[in-house]
């Protein structure tokens, strides 16, 4: 089945190529040419890139949750295991559509709180509260939502788990995470 599909695609590509050559030689309209070109994966991607850029009005870079986490780690003077566990939890939040309603800085502080709690430290330090300007009670609400989403994530979505099971990340994916 796989071989057949692959061959079929190759044949299709060939046909497109000859089509294109035919169009060039007979100098058909440019629109048609673009249409056929758009069937190629490269051209599709470039077209999609153009669409995305236009839709977002070229406003691409954003303060992401990762940047907030980096700041919290710096302020908290966190050790390696907290950094790894918090990154693992924060990566997990990307999978959830429901968690989009929380702003990135809240998600990052929740990841920090969960990681600190799991490693037996006081969940929310004074330094973090000062920097993030969120009190512990606020962050706990978000942290509970994050943990609830983590539990309900479909079991076949294992990329984040795989990533953080590697020794580079200290195998933090297997850490037991208690409720907050």
């Amino acid at each position: 089945m796989t071989v057949l599909t692959r061959n079929l695609r190759r044949v299709c590509d060939q046909i497109y190529l000859s089509f294109c050559l035919a169009i060039i030689s007979s100098s058909l309209s440019v629109n048609n040419f673009a249409l056929i070109l758009a069937s190629f994966p490269h051209a599709k991607m470039i077209e999609m890139e153009r669409q995305i850029l236009q839709t977002l009005e070229y406003k691409l870079t954003i303060p992401s949750a990762h940047m907030f986490l980096a700041r919290y780690i710096e302020v908290d003077d966190a050790n390696k295991s907290i950094v790894q566990l918090a990154s693992c939890i924060l990566d997990g939040t990307l999978l959830s559509y429901k968690l989009l309603r929380y702003c990135p800085s809240k998600l990052a502080s929740a990841a920090m709180l969960i990681a600190r709690n799991a490693l037996g430290m006081h969940p929310w330090s004074c330094a973090l509260a000062n920097c993030a300007q969120y009190c512990e009670a606020d962050v706990v609400i978000v942290a509970r939502a994050v943990l609830a989403e983590k539990v309900s994530t479909a079991s076949e979505l294992t990329s984040a788990l795989k990533k953080y099971s590697r020794s580079v990340y200290g195998c933090v994916a297997n850490t037991d995470i208690p409720n907050v």
Partner: protein
């Protein structure tokens, strides 16, 4: 808020109009809030009274004509209160003397002074003043600074700044960068209710999860920066929320991989090439088709 007979504007709490020339702070005011005299370009003189305990950051931002500040001795100022307020050419003798007096106070407390200078490095707008070897507009009365840090909360991360290494100038911007990001994050995320999926009939929540899961895997394979992944997912979400076209199920992967392509160009030093992206899409396609 009123102008009295001699043309002095009496500040009573609301934001000052931009055309005032002389201002006096009402006795009822104990703290001048953020932006109180912001961009009062004509403002030449301000008279504080000894009840004014705090001048918040950017209170006198952009007051380019300000020449004279009458103030009692033990007020507490935030480092950014007078940011951009005086440029060196217009600086009058009075301000010069004022600065000198503050400098002499500060020199008695070397440790405090170091802290202030570090603070001053954050305010690069004061560079012209630093050139003249003045102490920039960072006035935090040394004898009060300990209690002010704890009671007035004027610098929320003061204790972390103490920890910072003087040799790394990048560190001192951290707090400002954080504040800027916080002010920006509301615009840069999808709507707080996150209901864009309702406007996209061909895709659903679990497809988004599968896509993100696949993107994490690709991201890991290409060994990209962590920031790329977050930007990537954000671009996908914002595109799906804003796009006028309805994204078809078969197109979702294309959106995802193109967002990855864009994000890696922004965040990575060596972004993957277009052909690598096409390759990774292609193999995933055949794999998913085979599994169906």
């Amino acid at each position: 808020m009123d102008r009295d007979d001699v043309g002095i504007f009496l500040y009573t709490g609301t934001r000052a109009p931009s055309d005032i020339v002389n201002a006096r702070i009402d006795r009822s005011i104990t703290a001048i809030p953020v932006g109180a005299f912001c961009d009062c370009v004509a403002l030449e003189s301000v008279e504080l009274h000894d009840g004014v305990m705090t001048v918040e950051s950017n209170a006198f931002n952009g007051c380019c004509s300000l020449r004279r500040i009458v103030m009692p001795s033990d007020n507490v100022f935030d480092g950014r209160s007078f940011m951009l307020s005086v440029d060196s050419s217009k600086k009058s003798l009075e301000i010069q003397q004022w600065l000198d007096s503050i400098r002499s106070k500060i020199e008695h407390h070397t440790a405090e002074r170091n802290k202030l200078l570090r603070e001053a490095a954050r305010i690069n707008c004061c560079a012209s003043i630093e050139e003249e070897n003045d102490i920039p507009f960072v006035i935090q009365e040394s004898n009060r600074s300990n209690e002010s840090a704890s009671t007035m909360n004027s610098s929320p991360c003061s204790h972390t700044q103490d920890k910072m290494d003087d040799s790394d100038p990048g560190n001192c911007y951290g707090e400002d960068i954080y504040e800027y990001f916080r002010s920006k994050e509301a615009d840069s995320t999808v709507t707080p209710t996150a209901t864009y999926m309702d406007g996209q009939p061909y895709i659903n929540v679990s497809m988004r999860s599968i896509l993100v899961d696949w993107l994490i895997e690709v991201h890991m394979k290409f060994k990209l920066e962590p920031a790329t992944l977050y930007l990537n997912v954000n671009i996908v979400d914002r595109y799906l929320a804003k796009a006028t076209v309805k994204v078809k199920r078969s197109q979702l992967q294309l959106v995802g991989v193109t967002a990855l392509f864009l994000a890696s160009k922004y965040e990575d030093i060596y972004p993957p090439e277009l052909k690598d992206m096409v390759y990774i899409c292609d193999s995933a396609h055949t794999k998913s088709e085979a599994s169906v």
